[in-house]
C-alpha cells in the first residue's frame, strides 16, 4: 500500500505493512457529524491509527469578523457552533462588553442564563439522538427530536428564529421574555423529565448499548488536561472542571447546580455526564425562572462601539469551553477575533482514543465527542 500523499505536508500516518489497510472515512459519511474526514489505518477491524482532516466547512469567520462592526458579527457567531448558538454568541458579546465597559442589567443576565441552559438541553437532545442513531437505535433519534421540536418552538416564540437566534446583544438581549414564557418552559421541563426516563430505559440500561460504549475511547485525566480538553470530555475523565464554577460569569454563582463527573474516561462516562447535565440544566432554569427580577433587558451600550484593548472571554458550551479572544485597536471593527473552539481541541484526542478500537467503535467515539464541524472549521 502506498504512503498517503494527501496530508498537506504534515507527517503522514506511518507507511502501512502488508496486512494493513488504509480506510478513509470521507467527508461525506453518515455518521461523522458534518464534514469531517478521518484517515484510518486498520488491521482487519482493529484501528492502528486515526488522523482527522478538517477544513471542509471553513467559512472564514475570523477574517470576516475583522471587517464588520460588533453587532454584525453576532449573527456569524451563531453559525460557528450552530447547534448551541446562544453559547456561541455569548463569549463574543461578553468580550465586547468588557472592552466597551458596558454593564448588563440583572434581568438580562438571568434571561441569558435561562436561554443558554435551554440551549444546552437542546444541544444535548440532538447529541443523544445522533449518538443513538450512529449506534443503530434509530427510534431514539426521533424521540429526541420530538422533544427538541418543542424547545425550538419556545425559541421561535422568544427570538423569532428556531436555530440561529441573533438574540444576545452587547449590553443585554434583543427582546424581553414573552408572556407565558415561564409556563411554556415549565411545561416543557416537566415533560422532559418523563421522556428522559424513557431514554434511560431505551438506551442507558441496554446490554447491547453498554457493550458498545463501555471501555471504548478511554481518555485518562492526565491526557485530557494535557490536550486541553474541556466540557464533557474532560469531566468524563474525572476532572471536575466546569467554566461556570471555575470562572463564574454572568449570574451563575447564584444558582445551585452540580457538575457531573464521569467514572472512567470512556465513551460511557461521557454519555452519562451529558445525560446528567440535562438534570442540572433543568435545576438552573427552574431556579432562574423563580428568581428572575424585573428590570431592563438591555443596558446602555455606547452609540459608537470603538473597541480598545484585548480580552479573552470564556463560556461553558455544551461541548466544552468556548472562548473569544477579541482585540480592538480603536476602530469599530475588531482588529482580531479568535474563536476558541472546544471541538477543534477534542479532535486531537481522536488518535489516542481510537488506538486499539474497532471501526465500529470509531463511530461511537466521534459521537461521544459531540463534534460540530461548524465550530471546528469556523
Amino acid at each position: 500500500m502506498a504512503q498517503t500523499s494527501d496530508t498537506l505536508g504534515s507527517p503522514p500516518l506511518s507507511v502501512p505493512v502488508e496486512h494493513e489497510l488504509f480506510i478513509n472515512m470521507g467527508p461525506q459519511h453518515p455518521s461523522t457529524h458534518g464534514v469531517l474526514r478521518v484517515l484510518l489505518k486498520v488491521d482487519g477491524e482493529v484501528i492502528l491509527d486515526a488522523k482527522p482532516d478538517i477544513g471542509y466547512l471553513h467559512r472564514c469567520f475570523e477574517k470576516i469578523a475583522e471587517r464588520r462592526p460588533v453587532t454584525q458579527i453576532i449573527p456569524y457567531c451563531d453559525r460557528t457552533d450552530y447547534l448551541a448558538a446562544i453559547t456561541s454568541e455569548w463569549p463574543f458579546v461578553m468580550a465586547a462588553e468588557r472592552l466597551l465597559n458596558v454593564e448588563v442589567p440583572e434581568r438580562a443576565e438571568y434571561i441569558r442564563v435561562i436561554v443558554a441552559e435551554l440551549q444546552r438541553i437542546a444541544s444535548h437532545l440532538l447529541w443523544f439522538g445522533a449518538f443513538a442513531l450512529d449506534l443503530g437505535a434509530t427510534s431514539a433519534f426521533l424521540y429526541a427530536f420530538r422533544e427538541r421540536e418543542k424547545l425550538l418552538d419556545i425559541f421561535q416564540k422568544l427570538t423569532g428564529a428556531r436555530m440561529l437566534y441573533n438574540y444576545l446583544r452587547v449590553g443585554g438581549v434583543r427582546n424581553d421574555l414573552y408572556d407565558g414564557f415561564a409556563d411554556d418552559v415549565h411545561r416543557f421541563l416537566d415533560d422532559l423529565e418523563d421522556k428522559l426516563d424513557e431514554y434511560h430505559r431505551l438506551l442507558t440500561g441496554n446490554r447491547i448499548f453498554e457493550s458498545r460504549v463501555k471501555g471504548i475511547g478511554v481518555v485518562t485525566a492526565e491526557q485530557a488536561i494535557a490536550y486541553g480538553a474541556s466540557g464533557p470530555v474532560l469531566r468524563g475523565a474525572g476532572v471536575p472542571y466546569d467554566v461556570r464554577k471555575a470562572h463564574p460569569y454572568s449570574v451563575y454563582d447564584r444558582f445551585e447546580f452540580g457538575v457531573p463527573v464521569g467514572p472512567s474516561g470512556d465513551v460511557y462516562s461521557r454519555y452519562l455526564v451529558r445525560m446528567q447535565e440535562f438534570y442540572e440544566s433543568m435545576k438552573i432554569i427552574r431556579q432562574a425562572l423563580d428568581g428572575i427580577p424585573e428590570g431592563e433587558f438591555m443596558g446602555k451600550p455606547p452609540r459608537r462601539m470603538r473597541l480598545e484593548g484585548d480580552t479573552y472571554a470564556r463560556v461553558e458550551s455544551p461541548r466544552g469551553e468556548v472562548g473569544v479572544y477579541l482585540v480592538g485597536n480603536g476602530g469599530e471593527n475588531p482588529w482580531r477575533c479568535h474563536y476558541r473552539s472546544p471541538c477543534f481541541v477534542h479532535l486531537q484526542l481522536l488518535g489516542p482514543m481510537a488506538k486499539g478500537a474497532l471501526i465500529a467503535d470509531m463511530v461511537a467515539i466521534i459521537g461521544s465527542i459531540d463534534i460540530v464541524m461548524g465550530e471546528v472549521d469556523r
Binding site: 421561535q156 441573533n166 434583543r174 430505559r201 447491547i208
Partner: protein, 171 residues
C-alpha cells in the same frame, strides 16, 4: 457458561424493557403534520423574508436612508434612488434583497428608523430559478401589503414582524 447465560438473559431483559418503550410509543398520536397540505402556524415575530411596508395610501414608507443596507452583515440589500425635483424627497428606484445571501437576522429591521421594513413569515422561498431569488421592490412591497397584523413601532417591541395571512407559499 453461567456467565454466558447471564449475558443472554440480561441482554434479553434490557431488550424487552426497551421494546416496551417503543411499544408504548406506537400508541401515542403522531407528532407530524401532513405538509404541505397542513402547515404549522408560525408565531408573530418569526424572522422570514424582510419585506417593505406601505402606509395607508399604499406608498412605501421607505425614504431611502440606506441604514438597512449598512446594517446588513452580508450586504444583501441593494438600494438605488434619485431625488425628486418637485417634492425634494428621495424616491426609491431599486430595492433588492438577495434572499440567497440574507441571513434572516433581522438587523435591517432593527436599523430602520421609519418602520418601513419588517420580517415577514415567508419561509418557503425555494425556487428552480436562481435569479428569481433576488426580490425586487415591487415583490417585497406586494408581500408587505398582505400584512394581516398591525405593524408595531420597533422601538416599542424588539420582536415584531408581520404575518401575511395564510400560507407562506404565496410569494
Amino acid at each position: 457458561m453461567l456467565r454466558g447465560l447471564a449475558i443472554l438473559f440480561s441482554g434479553l431483559r434490557t431488550a424487552l424493557i426497551g421494546m416496551a418503550v417503543t411499544l408504548r410509543n406506537m400508541f401515542r398520536p403522531t407528532v407530524t403534520i401532513q405538509y404541505p397540505e397542513e402547515q404549522l402556524d408560525v408565531p408573530l415575530g418569526y424572522r422570514g423574508l424582510p419585506v417593505l411596508l406601505s402606509d395607508e395610501e399604499g406608498n412605501l414608507k421607505c425614504v431611502s436612508c440606506h441604514l438597512c443596507e449598512r446594517a446588513c452583515p452580508v450586504d444583501c440589500i441593494e438600494i438605488q434612488d434619485h431625488r425628486d425635483e418637485q417634492t425634494r424627497r428621495k424616491v426609491v428606484d431599486v430595492f433588492n434583497i438577495d434572499a440567497t445571501w440574507c441571513m434572516y437576522c433581522g438587523l435591517c429591521v432593527e436599523a430602520c428608523p421609519f418602520d418601513a421594513l419588517a420580517m415577514s413569515d415567508q419561509y418557503e422561498l425555494a425556487s428552480y430559478d436562481l435569479p428569481s431569488l433576488v426580490f425586487t421592490k415591487e415583490q417585497l412591497a406586494e408581500i408587505g401589503r398582505r400584512a394581516v397584523t398591525p405593524t408595531v413601532n420597533i422601538r416599542e417591541t424588539q420582536n415584531f414582524g408581520i404575518k401575511t395571512g395564510g400560507g407562506a407559499r404565496r410569494r
